[in-house]
Amino acid sequence: MTGLTRLLRTTAFRFSLVYFCLFAAAAGAAVGYIYWRTSVLLSAQLEDAIQAEIRNLDQQYRRGGLEGLQRAIVERSATAGNSLYLVADAEGRHLGGNLKSVSEELWNSTGRVAFFYRRTVDEQVEQRFAFAVIFRLPNGYRLVVGRDIEDRREFGEVVRSALLWTLAGMAVVGLGGGILIGRSLLRRIETMTETSRTIMAGDLSRRIPLTGTDDEFDRLAVSLNEMLRRIEELIAGFKEVSDNIAHDLKTPLSRLRNRVETALRDQTGAQTYREALQATIEDADELIKTFDALLSIARLEAGAAHSADERFDLAAVVTDVCELYEPLAEERGIRLELKPAETTIVEGKRELIAQAVANILDNAIKYGTNGLARPKPNLEKISVSLAPLRERADIIVADSGPGIPAHDRERVLKRFVRLEASRSLPGSGLGLSLAAAVARLHGGSLTLSDNQPGLKATLSLPRWVGAPENNR
């Protein structure tokens, strides 16, 4: 029963019900109007014919009196066709005419009347419908002049029943069709509802099945599936980030805690305490740094860096950052090679772009070496170049280290993602994420590729194209 109620409640069924009612009303109105106009026309013709006959008989009566009338009627009754006549005396005796008798009721009325009469055709008595005008003549005589309109009545009947049957047929087809369409739609919707319930229950991998007909439901399902895929991806990302936050913050926190505990247990005194406290401060600073970076990334991703944009030379920023990092690279036995670049104006946040370049360089210096314990001077090389293209400017930082396997390149741009090989080295796993977020904020991108050997990081930013009408 609930299945039926659900079916009757479907939009498709309601649509067909409403549609059927509207269509029936329109069809009924059209047929009714035609019927009405036809009967008006027919009635007028009938009236005209009867009036003409009456005028004619009136002349006969005036000229020949009752007898003349009687004669004319007898004459006409012989070739009557559809016309009906009757002349009778005050007692109702039939004096002439093809109408044998009239009912009592009819006898006592005058003017226009519609009535049934009996007629014998081929020894069969049949009842027929007629319309007549009844006159009272002097001496109580009656004259009835009429027409048999049985055919017309039958025609009316036929039209009426045809209309009813048609409507009934339409009702069956329309509502039945509504139910059928409703059922098939209901099945499609039910599948979607069921899928979404499963997903709500926690199975994020479920997808809405497609029928392969590429109809609107399939298209809806495709976009819903795409949305589900994206949500699943985001949730997986969230989970990864929170797992990583938990892990990456827990490790230094417990190290910090253990150091304090060890120091407390130590009896040697002030010097030990001081050292432990110093180390604790350093650890806490690292934690704060990590949180700052997380906050910055979140802010950048929300697009909330509302500081004003400025126009500046990207080449100068790259040179500055390289100069900042050059001693660090040298200390680690890496030759930092900056290829000379021409002035390249970009519009954006200088500070953030400098930070992004710094992080990429930082990453290259930290992880872009082959990890020799005692690196020979200038054995490793990191080359930094700025390539001004037509609409973009690419800052390319290429190292000759171990590189990153292709399938991990996208991943390392995510928050806290650190590859196994680098887990033992210091770092928050946020540097490249921040650089990527800065790139996105400026409508650019950060891509990692193979430098054969090594890693090539390309920070691509849109170039500022001067306003030509604003020549200064």
Binding site: Q278, I281, E282, D285, I288, K289, D292, L295, R299, A304, A305, H306, S307, A308, D320, E323, L324, Y325, P327, L328, E331, K349, E351, L352, A354, Q355, A358, N359, D362, N363, I365, K366, P426, G427, S428, G431
Partner: protein
């Protein structure tokens, strides 16, 4: 040195007052903006430390009012915000330095001391001298014990900033801000390497080291034993 702290977080303010007392300074505390402005207008302080968000009157309005009245007391603005533009807004309102919460006391102290010194007249001195180390700002030259030392332009600016704040702790963040004009913390401590390069030039061949590392805080250049 006398410091006015305007901060509505009483706990944070009393920590700060303690830290100031321990480093030999005195401090007054106001917990809302109006009282803070009143104190700053009627009393003399060497440095003002203003929280940016305060009940009744915010930190930026206090600075603006004071500057309009011709009060030039150095102001350090504290803020829990911290995007680049917040700092810009703070400095534009008339603040002299800007620090984001949570901050390290050593950082705040170093900055307060640098601010107090900045307002003193010796700022414009053409020569900085620490022991036998001389930085001649007119000739753009560095000498120690009468011998010239060749330094790179950036090393010169690094040394100049350190010597300008001689005898005071200068944090890594302060160096990044004043020598490189960067307001972010690099992932790796790049400043330390720059310092050791500079140290190799000015200290390595001399008996008495002048450039000292202050653990957990930063660096200090001074003549004398540590």
């Amino acid at each position: 040195m006398r410091v006015l702290v305007v901060e509505d977080d009483v706990k944070a303010a009393s920590y700060l007052a303690n830290a100031l007392r321990e480093s030999g300074h005195t401090s007054e505390l106001a917990t809302d903006g109006e009282t803070g402005l009143n104190l700053a207008q009627t009393d003399h302080f060497d440095v003002l430390v203003l929280d940016r968000m305060l009940p009744r009157l915010d930190g930026l309005s206090i600075v603006e009012t004071l500057r309009r009245e011709g009060n030039r007391t150095p102001v350090l603005i504290l803020s829990a915000l911290g995007a680049v533009d917040d700092r810009v807004a703070g400095l534009r309102a008339g603040g002299d330095d800007y620090l984001t919460k949570p901050y390290a006391f050593s950082e705040l102290l170093a900055r307060i001391e640098a601010l107090a010194r900045r307002s003193s007249p010796e700022e414009a001195s053409p020569k900085y001298v620490v022991g036998d180390l001389v930085l001649d700002r007119l000739a753009h030259k560095v000498m120690r014990g009468g011998e010239p030392i060749v330094v790179q332009p950036r090393e010169y600016r690094l040394l100049e900033y350190l010597m300008k704040n001689a005898g005071q702790v200068v944090t890594r963040t302060m160096l990044l801000e004043h020598v490189w004009d960067y307001h972010f913390d690099p992932q790796t401590n790049v400043i330390d390497v720059h310092i050791s390069r500079l140290r190799a030039k000015i200290d390595k061949n001399y008996e008495r080291p002048l450039l000292h590392t202050v653990r957990g805080a930063g660096y200090m250049i001074r003549d004398g034993a540590d």
